[in-house]
Amino acid sequence: MHTMTINNRETDLQVMKPDMPVGIVGYGAYIPRYRLPAEDVAKLWVGSSNRLPVSEKSVAGIDEDVVTMSIEAARNVLVRADVNPIDIGAVWVGSESHPYAVKPTSTVVAEAIGAVPNTQAADWQFACKAGTEAIQAAIGFVGSGMTKYALAIGMDTAQGRPGDALEYTAGAGGAAFLLGTSEESVATIGGSHSFVTDTPDFWRRQNARYPQHGKRFTGEPAYFRHIAECAEQLMNGLGTKPSDYTYAVFHQPNSKFPKQVAKILGFKTEQITTGLLASDVGNVYAGSALLGLTAVLDAAQPGDRILLVSFGSGAGSDAFDLSVNNRLSSCQNLAPTTKDYIERRTVIDYATYARYRGKLALK
């Protein structure tokens, strides 16, 4: 039997950094048009609307899925990045709502943006951090010189079982990022860190339609522990402290958790407000922290520093340190901003929601 070395080491952690400096060359958000007020869900199932976790959530239209939403976010990236799509050496989509169990989302996206056929394509999966792990891999691909550019997307059309607590918050949206050399980037990646453990807080088996959650595991041992430890280790490794950051973005399953974890870590409300969108769009899973980042990039100025920390059930967090470059200002308004998508808003009722999300069986 192989004997494992128990890791007692808590200090001298090596922050992940590529050999060559890498940054975000272009970014793009996507949020669908429809909104379901949490009040409507509450009225139907519990008859009261006290203490709702979000105000409303975004809902994908009947002709939308992770493929179509990723394509739109990727097109927004290309407008801002101004690169030839044939130079994109990897197209990666992280999601827990890929339309097919077998057949990649990423190849359709790569085809639609013109990156095919000489490119890497893959789908990523790790609950709500599937998009940030694709970013880490993209940093490695570009930073090692394997490809000039790599596109990483986190996108979801999250589903909750009718009547389940998740139904208030499970929204739709996400964002895409093109990683390239630091010189041409809008924001340079200073370093990244990942923190993972085997924690049974949330899962969905292969053929199950809706996820299950281990209620008592979702807060303290899952969300708070992983985000706080991951952020702290990254800041220790880089020698930074909360006050060094203009903005911080944390995974946002509701509007309460990110505020609490910010407080635990020593961040002030004004550092997290710009990137906190849960109340407007709900929990967009793999897109959650990443949409927060696009909202921050829409507003940030050269010299600003950003801390981004995702969380995925199962469980783990990926943390990133970013510094904004001069080029950001010239490309912020080339494509629709995160706010533009939030403000493009059509409220629907529960019956329409059920039809759009296939909760009614028609055949």
Partner: protein, 132 residues
């Protein structure tokens, strides 16, 4: 079984790729072997901007198979800014909001699926721009 036909058409359907005639410069969608304006062959691929205006529209209540969940939907005749007129579905808009002449932009959406076990077909539709 439509899979092979859909596969052959997907480049033009996903992102509105047509042709520009090398001889007379006319932009063509869908792509053709011979230019209808000057009868020359050998066109170059051209990526349309996806911006156009609604020329006319109507609502479809009795759709072909595969579109059932999406009924009723709006079909419009759209004049692309490069010249060609194409027929496409509108999305992200209600029938009361549609006006002749309004600007629309191309998006890629689900066109149909062959039941829960079949292929999903993606293609272009048009919607009002996100930003006016």
């Amino acid at each position: 079984m439509q899979v092979p036909r859909n596969w052959r058409l997907q480049k033009q359907r996903y992102s509105l790729i047509g042709e520009v005639c090398e001889h007379c410069g006319v932009k063509l969608f869908p792509p053709r072997d011979v230019c209808p304006e000057c009868s020359h062959g050998a066109q170059t691929l051209y990526q349309f901007t996806g911006i156009g205006n609604i020329h006319s529209f109507s609502q479809v209540f009795d759709p072909p198979n595969g579109h059932i969940e999406n009924t009723p939907f709006i079909v419009a005749l759209i004049k692309l800014e490069e010249g060609p007129m194409i027929t496409a579905q509108l999305t992200d808009i209600d029938i009361e909001q549609v006006e002749i002449g309004m600007e629309v932009e191309m998006v890629t959406r689900k066109m149909s699926d062959d039941g829960v076990e079949g292929m999903i077909v993606y293609g272009y539709k048009f919607r009002p721009p996100v930003v006016d």
